[in-house]
Amino acid sequence: MNRETAYWMALEHEWICSNAIGNGKIDKMNMVIRFLHEKKISMTDFFQLSNDEWKNEFEITDEQIIKLEQVKKSVPNYAFLAETLQSNGIEVIPIVSSEYSKTLKENLKKSAPLILYIKGNKQIMQENSIAIVGSRDASDIALQFTDNIAKRASKEWKVVISGFAKGVDKQSLDSSIAYKGQSIIVLPQGIMTFESGFKTYYKQIIDGDVLVLSTYHPKAGWAKELAMARNAIIYGLAKEIYAAESKPSKNRQGKETKGGTYAGVMDGLKKGRTIYVRKPDYAEQNDNNLLINSGAIPVDFNGNIAPVIYGSDNDALPMVSEPSINKKNFPEIIKDILLDYKYGLTTQDILKKISSDWKPDKLTKELGKLPFIEKIKKNNKNYFILKDMEPQTLFNYNESLY
């Protein structure tokens, strides 16, 4: 902890992201990159600047200045909170620190949280890691699979990332501890509200086998939204992802949904992550095959990649590749891809993402015809972007910062 800790905390929690899809977050990250990386100015010095300097030298908008002023005003308050965290052995790791999980940064890029609250052996954030995800009311077979994967992880010196929910999450943590492996507990709540857990895992924490991690305000209580959002952190922290079981669940209104595991895996697949899903037995009632059919890699009970057997099992279809592109489905496919890339993609980028024998020229031409697409120039390259998305920032993201 140092004098900048309170600034980081204030920036993370007091910069209110105004729109639902969290675009403010990216703005904030861009701003941080601009002053810390490009202009090489420290956090403390940045906050000593006048509004005019913010505006003129850092291209900060009036709306953002209001947010920054709120952040600045709250820094002394966060200093008090930071001291409490410190005295309880909780550390705040900002994204610029070499102690921040590299895996998380690589996976989440600009959506990575600005700070991590942790307690325990932070070194294990830098190790190879796996996450085992799955339903809260997983079947015995799914739990046994989880145990197998955790055992294997422990043997291979891989850290197990657990979301500390019931079912698969809890099993992965328990197994990891039982096999003397290392684990990261990713909290669906603020780290200061995890007292009972710190008591339970005291021994594992002081032995360096467990790290507790949260990305939320330290005092935030458990909330469904936080639990859902935490999935992205679990996936982000893991180099490999195993899904033990995806089961439908009911939401608060009693309506059946595909459940968190399904949503998480699908989101991961969409973002290009490799995800291993346990190949279910014929009689199992779950959505594992659905995930496999969407591009996840099937694995057997021990986590080995399972050969896909074609046969009488209708559910167990071979991995289906994305439908080949044609003029009819082209607009929908492009829209779907660009929704995830609000800063746009080049023709080459898009070409890699679609299954097609089109040449780049043809693709560029077809893209130009789409009414909902806009072409912008950045660093002498053409990017395609959806028209109703936020305008591109002037900042040129440079991954080497992290």
Binding site: R3, A6, K73, N77, Y78, A82, S87, N88, G89, I206
Partner: protein
């Protein structure tokens, strides 16, 4: 803001005409959002250096102060000026503190005093999240430094906080007593770009005396003879500092015996009594208050006319701090130090040597915290350490970052910090060496033939060239102690009629405070008991019986008792029983042998702390014919009373059986550290 503008405000708000130069210098830095360490003698006006800017700032100024008396005092003053000042402390009710926290959150408070320990309180931290904070003040900042005379571990968290505060947030640390070493230590801890402002420390109005004596009797006699005269001559009141709480009691009883208007004070008193005595001091209710050094720090009484020490403090800095409370109004104040070269080194030496437990005990604690997450009580029980030993070890281990004190709910638990360094005993040795050197300096002060004020100023790093004429080595006459026969007899009579009180009253028990015939180690009583108990010299000698009877008659002569019971022994055979029978015989109170043990207990003396002692005797007693107890007034006898755990346990048991009143009487009461 210019000085001129500030002084207009000063007149309007504080009704003061101007700032001293050093005050304005400090305030200017503070208004600029900087960090300042201000070292100025008591009475200089350090508080104004934060109170004034606090009224200029928009938000709330938070002052960490270890002294509740000072908080109360300053708040009263600020409120009388119409400034919204409040304090949060453990002496106020929960509701009161909650209201103040709520006012602070809504910006109704300009100046908020809190104790450093409050930083551990979750409601307070919650409140800080919503307050508009404008400045942080660390009062008595020498408490930050282990090299100072009053290091307090709770200040560590304040330093951690200060290090996390943003640039531009003003921080003021103040102290009246800091050597160069302490000054450097504070500055280094508060960090980056701190400005140090140091004033001169001389107190010209002090008249400093050292009185060398050959015995405790000489001190008692001189004070008995002169304290009233001193008070009359100076027209005011003063403080007599003793080295221990027991001495406070003895001197106080001695003055009572002589009808000298006085009262005694120590940190063990309850809040109401302390507040009453502090108020009495302010209104000169007594000629003298006898106290341990717990009294006076931060009390804003400008006309304390004399300060007398019956014991040398551990160092000149302790001494300067304690005498600094006298004569703040600039009028003459008498500063007298007694010193018995044959005896008086022992107490400060014992503080220094006994202050640090053995390394083996440190290891015990480390091993326990490695096995699990425990609170203080559990660790003390598992390690069988004395509570104060554990507290020293705990503070050191926290300081060395081997153990962390974490709050779980409302309780503190001790966590081992993985990968921490091994215990560094070198620091302990350095600290011990520094303390011994300080004690040597204190003795040098006693022995010096030069100006005593100059000696103190030099020691504190204020190398003034001022010519001092204010001590018994310069122009004041030396004090001589003359012991007359009349006074020797008075003192002897006092000693023979003085019996220590056994304070055992607790809620839910019908046991009342009793009496001991003597202190264990103060006279030959302890030796006599030891010979009978452990050297097989037969029954307790008769002079102890006489003493016990006298103690009884002096305190309970007018009360009627139905029964004498005695504490069934663990080891020493019939000594207690035989003694109780003699008491019964002389006092004509029937004796009962019905109080027995339900199980074997261990000797209490092998347990180092109250938790283990209480556990050792818990539910260990039974009375054979319980109906005999109902509605009875009982005199309960034992030979030695140490932790009082046994006596209290029996008191509770007899209360449950229906006893109306239980009065304990023992031959000797131990004082911390007595080897029984």
């Amino acid at each position: 803001m210019t000085r001129q503008e500030a002084e207009i405000l000063l007149k309007r708000i504080f009704k003061l005409p101007t700032f001293y130069d050093e005050q304005w210098q400090t305030i200017e830095h503070i208004l600029n959002g900087e960090r300042v360490l201000l070292i100025e003698k008591t009475g200089f006006g350090k508080s104004l250096c934060f109170q004034f800017p606090a009224t200029v700032f928009k938000g709330t100024t938070v002052i960490f102060s270890p002294l509740i008396a000072l908080m109360r005092d300053q708040i009263k003053k600020l409120q009388s000026l119409g400034i919204a000042a409040k304090c949060i402390n453990s002496e106020q009710s929960i509701e009161e503190n909650a209201q103040i926290i709520s006012d602070a959150k809504s910006g109704k408070i300009k100046i908020l005093y809190i104790a450093p320990e409050r930083q551990e309180n979750s409601e307070w931290i919650e409140a800080t999240q919503q307050m508009d904070l404008s400045m942080i003040v660390v009062d008595e900042a020498h408490c930050i430094s282990v090299w100072g005379h009053d290091f307090r571990p709770s200040f560590q968290r304040i330093i951690n906080l200060v290090k996390l505060l943003p640039k531009g947030m003003p921080v003021l640390a103040t102290t009246a007593t800091a050597t160069k070493r302490v000054e450097n230590d504070i500055a280094a801890q508060i960090g980056e770009g701190i400005t140090i402002i140091r004033g001169n420390l001389l107190r010209n109005n002090f008249k400093l005396f050292v009185v060398k004596v050959n015995s405790e009797d000489e001190k008692l006699i001189w004070l008995g003879k002169n304290i009233e005269k001193l008070s009359d001559r100076t027209g005011g009141t003063g403080i007599l500092y003793t080295g221990t709480r027991v001495d406070t009691e003895i001197y106080s009883k001695w003055f009572n015996y002589l009808n000298i208007s006085s009262t005694s004070y120590n940190a063990g008193l309850d809040t109401d009594s302390r507040v009453a005595i502090e108020n009495g001091l302010m209104s000169n209710q007594w000629k003298c208050i006898i106290s341990t050094n717990a009294l006076g720090m931060g009390i804003d009484k400008s006309d304390i006319r004399f300060i007398i020490h019956t014991q040398i403090p551990q160092s000149p800095i302790h001494y300067y701090q304690e005498i600094g409370r006298a004569g703040r109004d600039g009028k003459p104040a008498y500063i007298i130090l007694f010193y018995n070269p044959n005896e008086d080194r022992k107490l400060p030496e014992a503080f220094i040597e006994g202050g640090r437990p053995t390394i083996r005990k440190y290891e015990k604690v480390i091993n326990v915290v490695k096995t699990g997450l425990f609170g203080e009580r559990e660790i003390i029980k598992q390690t069988n350490l004395k509570s104060n030993e554990f507290r020293v070890i705990k503070a050191d281990l926290i300081e060395q970052k081997i153990v962390r004190e974490s709050i779980y709910g409302k309780t503190k638990k001790y966590e081992f910090i993985p990968d921490s360094q091994a215990l560094n005993t070198k620091t302990f040795e350095e600290l011990r060496a520094a303390k011994i050197a300080d004690l040597e300096k204190m003795i040098e002060y006693v022995e010096t033939d030069d100006s005593r004020m100059k000696f103190l100023c030099d020691y504190l790093g204020d190398n003034s060239n001022h010519i001092f004429t204010n001590c018994d080595n310069t122009s004041e006459k030396k004090i001589q102690v003359v012991v007359t026969e009349e006074w020797s007899e008075k003192l002897q009579d006092f000693r023979e009629n003085y019996f220590p009180e056994l304070v055992v009253e607790t809620r839910g028990s019908n046991m009342v405070n009793g009496v001991a015939a003597s202190y264990y180690g103060v006279s030959n009583v302890g030796n006599a008991i030891h010979r009978s108990k452990y050297e097989k010299c037969g029954d307790f000698p008769d002079f102890l019986l006489k003493l016990a009877l006298k103690a009884f008659r002096k305190n309970f002569d007018n009360e009627l008792f139905d029964l004498i019971l005695y504490v069934p022994p663990t080891k020493s055979g019939n000594l207690v029983k035989n003694f109780a029978e003699k008491l019964s015989n002389f006092l004509k109170i029937p004796i009962s042998h019905g109080l027995q043990k339900t199980r074997e207990t261990s000797e209490q003396k092998i347990f180092e702390n109250t938790y283990n002692k209480s556990e050792n005797v818990k539910d260990a007693f039974i009375y054979t014919k319980p109906n005999d107890i109902v509605g009875k007034k009982i005199l309960l006898f034992d030979d030695i009373c140490d932790s009082k755990a046994t006596i209290k346990e029996i008191g509770k048991y007899l209360t449950n059986l229906g006893a109306e009143k239980i009065v304990p009487i023992v031959i000797a009461k131990t004082v911390g550290g007595d080897i029984v």
